[in-house]
């Protein structure tokens, strides 16, 4: 009996210590982003995948948000109030995103919730934001269900990016008109709302434009071996393979397809956007294309100013996620300035009234579905980085 009790006490102590270590570790200390810890601070909550398979999504978005906060705080904050940031890591898991959303809205009482990049995690967060009356802006979730479920627009959820029906169309048009191909195979991530939605929209549009889908294979995120699916696709001889997944899997798919001797270019969506794609994919991903929210080599002054400021602050070139995080935060702050109260329903109404906001990723107007109607760019992977090819307007 005695050893058992000792074990129980030890376990309780371990549990307590583990809880301590995990929680504070999960929130990034907003050293540069917060000023005096006054009760008059405006608190921004961010939920992102800082670790896990899509770690660069969360880290880039967080950097974009931090840059926006620092720029506003340097100008004196919003109506004299400084802005603070509280970030939670959801490890790439939807359950964790929902828990973090509850924590931010109920415990930390944030003014606005920013996140998530991945549609499956935004879908987990959206009901929590609605239930607690905290406006939520997703920077890069493109699945339409995030703002509109069953024909009803979610009252507190907004997005500042385009949606997948448009993104699928962009890819289909690019394949048909620019790459001039008629036979495409699809390799989709079956457990991922974003990937399934995007693949479906691409399929519909590509067929409408007169192309044929020669094969439609699937994989599960985290799979290591794609050779079975790729061998089957190879047998059907497509000219392009559409892989609307996230960068870790896409890089491996590219490598394994080259190992099987397949030379077709791959085509994808904004889930590819990460420096890790080039790092892991290496030579295998060269010559492939993907649709994205912005191109960092776009010469327009607004974009270049942002790129330079980001490079100065973080020492790397901002990817699409960072730009979207920045725009989401800027739209939130712009709305807070206009709103009678930078929280709750008045903030929600101000965000909904955003019109022609000049964002880094395009002119942002929130429509009646709480979505933004913006052009998309298509970039090519060349020389270990993404190079702008063309813009497609909605």
């Amino acid at each position: 009996m005695r050893p058992a009790r000792m074990v129980a006490i030890l376990a309780a102590a371990l549990g307590a210590a583990a809880c301590e270590a995990k929680k504070p570790g999960a929130d990034a200390a907003p050293a540069a982003a917060s000023a005096a810890p006054s009760a008059d601070r405006i608190l921004v909550g961010h939920i992102g995948s800082m670790t896990g398979s899509e770690a660069t999504f969360g880290l880039s978005t967080d950097n974009g948000i931090k840059l926006a906060i620092e720029q506003w705080n340097a100008k004196g904050g919003i109506n004299g109030r400084q802005i603070g940031l509280k970030t939670y890591d959801d490890q790439g898991k939807p359950e964790e995103a929902a828990v973090a959303a509850t924590r931010l809205t109920v415990n930390d009482k944030v003014n606005v919730l920013l996140g998530e990049v991945a549609s499956s995690r935004s879908l987990a967060m959206a009901p929590v934001a609605d239930a607690n009356g905290v406006p939520m802006i997703t920077p890069s979730s493109t699945n339409p269900r995030v703002t509109k479920e069953n024909g009803k627009v979610r009252p507190f959820v907004f997005r500042v990016c385009f949606i997948d029906p448009f993104q699928g169309t962009v890819a289909a048009k690019f394949a048909r008109n620019d790459l001039k191909v008629s036979k495409v195979a699809i390799l989709r991530d079956v457990g991922n709302d974003y990937s399934m939605g995007l693949a479906d929209y691409f399929l519909a549009k590509f067929k409408e434009l007169g192309g044929t889908i020669v094969d439609d294979q699937s994989y599960k995120a985290g799979d290591q071996d794609f050779k079975a699916q790729l061998t089957a696709i190879k047998g059907k001889n497509p000219e392009v393979i559409y892989v609307p997944g996230y960068y870790t899997d896409v890089a491996l798919i590219a490598r394994q397809s080259r190992e099987l001797g397949m030379r077709q270019p791959l085509l994808g969506g904004d889930g590819w956007d990460s420096s890790k794609l080039f790092e892991i994919g290496g030579k295998a991903i060269e010559g492939s294309f993907y649709s994205n929210h912005y191109a960092s080599d776009d010469p327009s002054p607004r974009i270049q100013d942002f790129v330079k400021a980001y490079q100065k602050r973080f020492g790397s070139t901002p990817d699409g996620l960072a730009a979207m995080g920045y725009d989401a935060a800027m739209v939130a702050f712009d709305a807070m300035k206009r709103a009678s109260e930078p929280a709750g329903t008045s903030l929600r109404d101000a965000i909904a009234a955003t019109k022609d906001y000049p964002g880094v990723t395009g002119i942002i107007t929130i429509d009646q579905n709480h979505d933004a109607s913006k052009p998309a760019v298509v970039v090519e992977v060349k020389g270990g980085t993404s190079v702008y090819v063309t813009t497609v307007k909605p």
Partner: protein, 336 residues
């Protein structure tokens, strides 16, 4: 035809991995009548051990054969030690308890490894703890703060996947008119065969192997005959874990993504392979692994690819319904 042959090559590559992991399951079941659910996670630890050693030896920038061998041997040693430790501290104290207790403990060890490896690095945890103390207005005493600086900052690895460096240059060949084989496939097949043959020799030609088989028939009588049962059981765990490490390194060479839950699926599938071949039978595990690898590849390639994982469990259900003792298993009557 080339598509079929390519599937055969892929299936063989997959099957040998499952066979190597299944051997660990089957041997432990043979001697202890315990399904070691933590075995898949020993495989995962093997991959990470190899990764850490490879990073320390800077294999990424200057790969070489001696370094590859060092990575192999190092990972095998780490897994062997881990297998020994799991048996010693998690299963041996429960040896005289009902079998269900050990089974649940095995699941517990599995989760411990999986989620333990997903924790933030020890140094990050230490820093977070210091942050909490400072938030309360306390300070960390100087010697403890000194310890903080030497804590590893990349172990535990956390949930972000890592990418195993390539130990040697990849060469692809096209044979038989269109089938793509790489030197990685050839090497991994050769290494797997060598280890399986070595295991057969150990189990059937050495004193240790004979003792292992004796313990698996009847451990009490074997003990009475002078066999050091505990030592044999420890040795069995070490052997199985070493094979899991080999499997992990062979996988990591050609499918380089490693993360803390990479052992879950292969572990479950290898368990199915072991049951299919007859759990407790060494040749059964090898055959079961190969059959499962082929089935998975053919199903994923020729039918709906999302059934890839489902096929393993469908096979499990079929085997248990139709021939529960497996291909090579013996139907044992229990005298009441």
């Amino acid at each position: 035809m080339t598509e079929f042959l390519q599937h055969v090559v892929n299936g063989l590559s997959l099957g040998t991995i499952y066979a190597l992991i299944a051997l660990g399951y089957t041997m432990v079941y043979g001697v202890l009548k315990l399904i070691n659910f933590a075995h898949g996670d020993v495989y995962m630890v093997g991959a990470f051990a190899g990764y850490y050693i490879a990073t320390a030896l800077d294999v990424e920038r200057s790969p070489s054969l001696p370094k590859a061998v060092a990575v192999f041997v190092g990972a095998m040693a780490v897994c062997g030690a881990l297998g020994w430790a799991i048996e010693r501290f998690a299963y041996r104290p429960l040896r005289n308890r009902p079998r269900l207790t050990s089974l649940i403990t095995a699941i517990g060890v599995s989760f411990l490894l999986e989620f333990g490896f997903q924790l933030p690095s020890l140094r990050a945890q230490g820093e977070a703890f210091r942050g909490v103390l400072e938030g309360w207005g306390l300070r960390l005493p100087a010697p403890v703060a000194g310890v903080l600086a030497v804590l590893p900052d990349n172990f535990p690895p956390g949930p972000t996947p890592r990418f195993f460096p390539e130990p040697f240059e990849r060469v692809d060949w096209t044979v038989l008119g269109g089938v793509h084989v790489s030197n990685y496939d050839v090497v991994s097949l050769a290494v797997a065969v060598v280890f399986m043959v070595a295991l057969q020799l150990i189990v059937y030609r050495t004193k240790f192997g004979t003792a292992m088989r004796a313990v698996s028939y009847d451990s009490r009588v074997a003990g009475l005959m002078g066999i050091p049962v505990s030592r044999i059981i420890s040795g069995t765990f070490v052997l199985g874990s070493v094979l899991a490490a080999v499997a992990a390194l062979l996988v990591a060479g050609s499918r380089p993504r490693i993360d803390p839950i990479m052992g879950l699926m292969p572990g479950l599938k290898a368990f199915v392979a072991a049951v299919f071949g007859g759990i407790g039978s060494v040749p059964g595990a090898m055959v079961g692994g190969l059959v499962l690898g082929f089935s998975e590849e053919m199903v994923a390639g020729y039918t709906v690819s999302s059934f890839r994982d489902g096929i393993a469990f469908a096979m499990l259900i079929l085997v248990l319904l139709l021939r529960p003792e497996g291909l090579f298993g013996r139907v044992s009557a229990e005298k009441v």
